[in-house]
């Protein structure tokens, strides 16, 4: 089992060991980079199909189920028609986007227009490098500043959004970019503050250390994930909401609100550049989900100690899958917020909640000697109470109505 768990690590070490001493660090890095660049885009490809299938099922339709392997009757006459339940769709989409005409508006700022998708993609891919996807499987363990690196990389994507929106010379793009930036800046604060609780408790900015800190065991079988504490639970949901907004997912998909802004900041992109934006968006979602998993859901740790025999990377990707499924589920259900409501929500609800959560986390830290149940209850009560108080303002304003009938 240990072997399977560490199979990729051993593989890498094996390859590296063949090389001369001087090349080893370089090749080691290159292998990690290649792994990231291969695995996550592949995951993206699968996700697009899964998302469409899942949304289809939510909406009572089968979703894509036609495209499988091309038959190529001249080459393989014996090959039957394989539909693979529609999982060939992503290849078809990819080929389509590659072969489509790349249209650049006449008035666009060509250089910036060209650079924008790459400026989006590069930081997002960089962000993956600090995520530990399994035991000993972080491409880069920044002992000092792992989390900070992640957020710095995330902050750089805003620039790309602006570049795309501004250079297209399209009003929808511009409005979409303005919305996206306003939203990303606003939601970065709750995002950082909610992850700050974890940093406080783990006492480290290193994601690897944070995962290791969660490996404690409760009740003899349950791993001590942060989500099993009141501040971790609240923090996880706050993080999830903020992550949703950072990744521009429903109900916070205003920047690309189809019914209002056509496609938001990438309205004027077509062909492969559009695909890159799409890829960047999804990779951003994966990265931020991966961060959520690392911070709150125990990273690559299994949920129960008796499941420890399963490989650690399996658990990471399984959790990632669940997170993405949750995002798809949200997308299939919820309508979209309005910009001012979005801002109000960020500043008047999320921010106070995250601050209170910080206080609760501090309380948790200093009541270490208390009875665990009491400690739990105290945190839960504090958080529920503040949630209720903050939610009341909304409920006073908006509520379902009852209607009268004409006599």
């Amino acid at each position: 089992m240990e072997q399977i768990d560490q199979i990729f690590v051993h593989l890498k070490h094996g390859v590296v060991a063949f090389l001369p001493e001087g090349l080893q660090p370089l090749v080691s890095i290159l292998i990690s980079v290649t792994a990231i660049v291969l695995v996550f885009p592949l995951l993206f490809a699968l996700t697009t199909v899964l998302e469409r299938k899942g949304l289809g099922r939510i909406q009572n339709r089968p979703g894509p189920n036609r495209v499988g392997l091309p038959r190529l009757p001249t080459l393989f006459p014996w090959l039957p028609k394989l539909r693979l339940a529609g999982f060939g769709q992503f290849a078809a989409d990819g080929i389509k986007s590659l072969t489509k005409e790349d249209i650049v508006p006449r008035e666009a700022d060509r250089v910036v227009h060209f650079l924008a998708p790459f400026v989006l993609l590069v930081p997002v891919l960089l962000a993956f490098s600090v995520l530990p996807v399994g035991r000993n499987m972080a491409a880069l363990d920044l002992r000092e500043t792992g989390l900070l690196f992640f957020f710095a990389a995330g902050a750089a994507t805003e620039l790309s959004v602006f570049m795309a929106g501004w250079s297209s010379h399209n009003k929808y793009s511009l409005l979409g970019a303005m919305r996206a930036i306003a939203q990303m800046i606003s939601y970065e604060i709750p995002l950082i503050l909610s992850s700050l609780t974890v940093v406080m408790m783990a006492g480290s900015l290193s994601l690897v250390t944070i995962v290791e800190r969660q490996s404690g065991v409760n009740f003899g079988f349950l791993h001590g994930w942060h989500v099993f504490t009141p501040w971790g639970f609240a923090g996880f949901w706050l993080f999830l909401i903020a992550a949703c907004a950072e990744a521009n997912r429903t109900p916070f998909d205003l920047p690309e609100a189809e019914s209002e802004l056509v496609a938001g900041y990438f309205t004027e992109y077509s062909g492969f550049k559009f695909a890159l934006f799409f890829l960047g968006e999804y990779l951003g979602l994966f990265a931020i989900s991966g961060l959520g998993i690392t911070l709150f859901l125990g990273g690559w740790l299994s949920p129960f100690t008796f499941l420890n025999w399963m490989p650690s990377w399996f658990w990471f990707f399984f959790k990632l899958f669940l997170m993405i499924a949750f995002f798809i589920w949200l997308r299939g259900t919820l309508p979209r917020l309005r910009l001012d409501q979005l801002m109000n929500f960020a500043w008047k609800f999320l921010l106070p909640m995250t601050l209170i959560n910080l206080v609760v986390a501090a309380l948790w830290h200093f009541t270490n000697s208390w009875n665990p149940a009491l400690r739990w209850l105290l945190g839960a009560i504090l958080l529920t109470f503040s949630y209720w108080i903050l939610g009341r303002g909304f409920e006073a304003k908006f509520r379902p109505r009852t209607y009268r009938y004409a006599s």
């Binding site: 099922r57 909406q59 009572n60 089968p62 589920w329 299939g332 919820l334 939610g391 909304f394």
Partner: protein, 215 residues
């Protein structure tokens, strides 16, 4: 509490998601080329001209009265009346359409031509795969492409066909009775005159069962 409505909605979509795997009847999608829906009997797509017998051009019921051409709302029917006449199903000599074109790209499948036709000559087809690769030539359908046998009509619209066949049979019976009476009268008068046409020219398919019409 804030969020309860969202949770309710999520539960609903989850129910539908799971339900779509448990009970496939909720999925209304029909995977078209592989699966085909049985069409309702009343389905109407595009008109066709009914003919009796085996020879399409000979047995065409249309007498080129041009009512449909006049009534057609988008004016997609084009008829040129013939110079000569040929016998219709009761044996009466009638004009026939020398040209009968319907423009598929203009037709809006309203069925008014069928309703106004006094000769049961034009009916609606249920064929809907009408696309062609040539938008100029092949969308204008000519008489030869439009003519379809009565058996086709009986197959796609059995109820309507029964009514129409009964009406035609009644017509024919009446005409034959009249002809017989005429002949008798003529015979009685002692001046034999030939019938307008030879009865072999008209072949009428055996009428379907008795017209038990749901009214």
């Amino acid at each position: 509490m804030l969020g309860s409505g969202i949770l309710k909605g999520l539960a609903e979509t989850a129910k539908n998601f799971v339900g779509s795997y448990i009970d496939e009847s909720g999925l209304t999608t029909i995977e078209y080329p592989d699966e085909r829906q049985t069409l309702a009997e009343n389905t109407r797509q595009f008109p066709f001209l009914v003919f009796d017998g085996d020879d399409a051009m000979k047995g065409l019921r249309c007498v080129s009265c041009q009512i449909c051409e006049k009534e057609c709302p988008p004016q997609c029917i084009f008829i040129v009346k013939s110079k000569d006449k040929k016998p219709d199903h009761v044996g009466k000599p009638q004009f026939y359409p020398a040209t009968f074109d319907i423009d598929l790209s203009v037709c809006m499948s309203c069925q008014i031509c069928v309703e106004v036709c006094p000769f049961e000559a034009i009916k609606m087809d249920t064929e809907f795969e009408l696309s062609t690769s040539d938008r100029f030539g092949q969308l204008l359908l000519h008489k030869g492409q439009l003519a379809k046998p009565n058996s086709h009509f009986q197959e796609i619209h059995p109820t309507d066909a029964a009514v129409s066949d009964a009406a035609l049979a009644a017509d024919k019976a009446k005409a034959e009775a009249k002809a017989a009476a005429d002949a008798k009268a003529k015979a009685e008068a002692g001046i034999p005159r030939p019938l307008a046409s030879s009865p072999e020219a008209v072949t009428i398919p055996p009428a379907l069962g008795p017209p038990n019409l749901p009214m």
